[in-house]
């Protein structure tokens, strides 16, 4: 039995606490600075705000239309999820449970595409999107996000679906149940945790993404939140409290997702590490 208090356990606690402070300090600083005027920030960047000053938030809502930017991001993320899940779920089920020719060869090819750096296909895709007239339309980002995430999602979902009991699937097959019946009644309900995990990873990754939306969505009205903060506030403004307020608002959705759903995130990371 471990004693609940001892000198070396107290020391460990203190070290862990210090690391936690280091992890949290920049976030607290970000929140504190969002309540400062830029004069107050220049005079004392490290201190706590003296008054509660909400003009930074107001400026972001009225001058930069944060709600529109949040909406843009949400539409792109939702569209990307529809594409990637609609394609990845049936493919993963086939790789995990159906017997067909070239199954393992096709699976290896699909997994191998995960190693290709995304920037390799950036230029041709950019030119393709401009030919299609999709630049500055959400569809470009939706398609790129949706398609490039397929290999990773298939990898995760296939390894999870392999664990489904074969007996159950065979029983439905022999009873003459059709494919849609099998999918809707058994495969989808049993895969909900896995689908949640890949969905969370995709959604937070896309919310945080800079390169793809930066290239394809160039006019201010179509930008995603992350890109707008990086380009409008970050590059051209020396008003640090305003910038930090923008960063704070950008961080809220991923932090909320993490706090509410951290079990799924932990599971997803572990699947990657163990396989």
């Amino acid at each position: 039995m471990k004693p609940w208090f001892s000198l070396h356990r107290a020391l460990i606690f203190i070290i862990l606490l210090l690391v936690a402070c280091l992890s949290l300090y920049p976030l607290i600083y970000m929140a504190a600075s969002s309540l400062k005027t830029s004069m107050e920030f220049i005079e004392d960047p490290a201190g706590l705000p003296k008054t509660l000053y909400f003009d930074n938030f107001k400026a972001l809502f009225y001058r930069f239309d944060v709600l529109l930017l949040f909406g843009n991001t949400a539409v792109c993320v939702a569209g990307g999820l529809v594409i990637t899940l609609a394609v990845s779920i049936p493919a993963s089920f086939a790789f995990a449970k159906l017997r067909f020719r070239w199954r393992s060869a096709l699976y290896i090819i699909l997994i191998a595409t995960m190693t290709i750096p995304g920037i390799t296909f950036l230029i041709p895709n950019y030119l393709l999107m401009s030919k299609l007239g999709w630049i500055d339309h959400f569809i470009s980002v939706i398609v790129i996000w949706g398609v490039t995430s397929i290999p990773g999602n298939v990898f995760l979902l296939t390894s999870l679906m392999r664990g489904m009991p074969n007996e159950l699937l065979e029983a439905v097959k022999i009873d003459g149940g059709n494919y849609w019946h099998l999918m809707g009644r058994i495969v989808l309900p049993m895969s909900i945790p896995g689908i949640m995990t890949v969905g969370i990873f995709n959604a937070t990754g896309w919310w945080n993404d800079l390169l793809t939306p930066l290239i394809y969505l160039q006019s201010d009205a179509t930008k995603t939140m992350t890109v707008a903060v990086a380009t409008i506030l970050g590059r051209f403004s020396s008003d640090y409290p305003l910038l930090l307020t923008g960063l704070l608002l950008t961080s809220i959705p991923p932090i909320l997702i993490y706090i509410l759903l951290q079990g799924f995130i932990r599971k997803g990371l572990v699947i990657g590490a163990v396989k």
Binding site: L27, M30, R103, L106, P117, L122, I123, L210, R266, A273
Partner: protein
């Protein structure tokens, strides 16, 4: 149609959409990039110039600076590996509040590189928090303009990288450690093994596959994942002193419109990542034997 044949076609049709989409948006662009790396290309007209782009990349000295910048991040990986391991081992002691600490460490990981980058940029700016802290500690001689001088700009970038990677590291290593049985620790304790001995003889050896996974994902990350951080902290500067390969591809393609040169640089990066993946495959085959 018999059942096996039906299953065969069902399987083929289930994976078909994935392959069609990947062929259009990944397969075709890669061949396109490869072809255009031998051309002088502005997006509309491409003139075949053979190996000229590659010759430029390797002779004007720029590639060595870009590679140097990637390598600086590469050699910083053992540092965060070590820190993550130590923090994990301490968390494993399950002192009061360890679950809370584990959650807190992951918070920076969930944030965008853009948020982390600009946040650190303000902290390490000339009049920012860090310099204020140094002044209040009486260390005024150490005050510099962190982001506009080379070695310190890298220190800030690597700090951002560490700050975001610690959460990933501890979560992965904790899951790796959950495979070690408490019996092993008890046996070692009875044999009189001290804390350090247990760390080196039991914990680290049984974490080897996880350490390998962590290292490989981060090695690939420093070649393909730094864009957001570089864009927000230094913009690749001063000059090109902190520009890694992927950021240079972006600069060449989307600020100066040298699509052919950027394509050739993409092919070089692609080759580097393929070599790393090949090493990874060979090593993991060796260990699973």
């Amino acid at each position: 149609m018999n059942l096996a044949k039906r299953e065969h076609w069902l399987g083929c049709f289930s994976v078909l959409p994935a392959f069609v989409l990947l062929a259009i948006f990944m397969g075709y662009p890669i061949f396109n990039t490869f072809y255009h790396s031998f051309t002088n290309w502005d997006g509309l007209n491409a003139d075949w110039i053979g190996l000229e782009n590659y010759r430029d990349i390797f002779t004007d000295g720029q590639i060595w600076k870009l590679l140097r910048n990637n390598l600086i991040f590469l050699i910083s990986i053992p540092g965060i590996l070590f820190i993550s391991l130590i923090v994990t081992v301490l968390l494993y002691e399950e002192v009061a509040g360890w679950k809370f600490f584990r959650s807190v460490y992951y918070l920076p990981t969930i944030l965008s590189a853009v948020v982390v980058g600009f946040l650190m940029k303000t902290i390490f700016s000339q009049g920012g928090n860090f310099n204020v802290l140094l002044r209040s500690l009486g260390l005024e001689s150490l005050i510099v303009d962190w982001l506009n001088v080379v070695p310190t700009a890298f220190m800030v970038l690597i700090f951002c990288f560490y700050w975001q990677t610690l959460g990933q590291g501890t979560l992965i290593f904790l899951s790796g450690m959950s495979t070690i049985t408490t019996d092993m620790f008890e046996a070692a304790r009875i044999d009189g093994a001290g804390w350090w001995q247990r760390l080196w003889r039991i914990t680290i050896p049984s974490l080897v596959p996880t350490i390998f996974y962590f290292t490989i994902t981060n090695v690939i990350f420093v070649f393909v994942g730094l864009f957001g951080l570089i864009y927000s902290v230094t913009g690749g500067g001063p000059g090109y002193e902190t520009t890694p390969i992927d950021y240079m591809i972006y600069l060449k393609a989307f600020t100066t419109g040298e699509f052919g040169f950027a394509s050739a640089l993409s092919v070089v990066l692609f080759a580097i990542v393929i070599v790393i993946s090949w090493i990874q495959l060979r090593l993991s085959d060796k260990w699973s034997e």
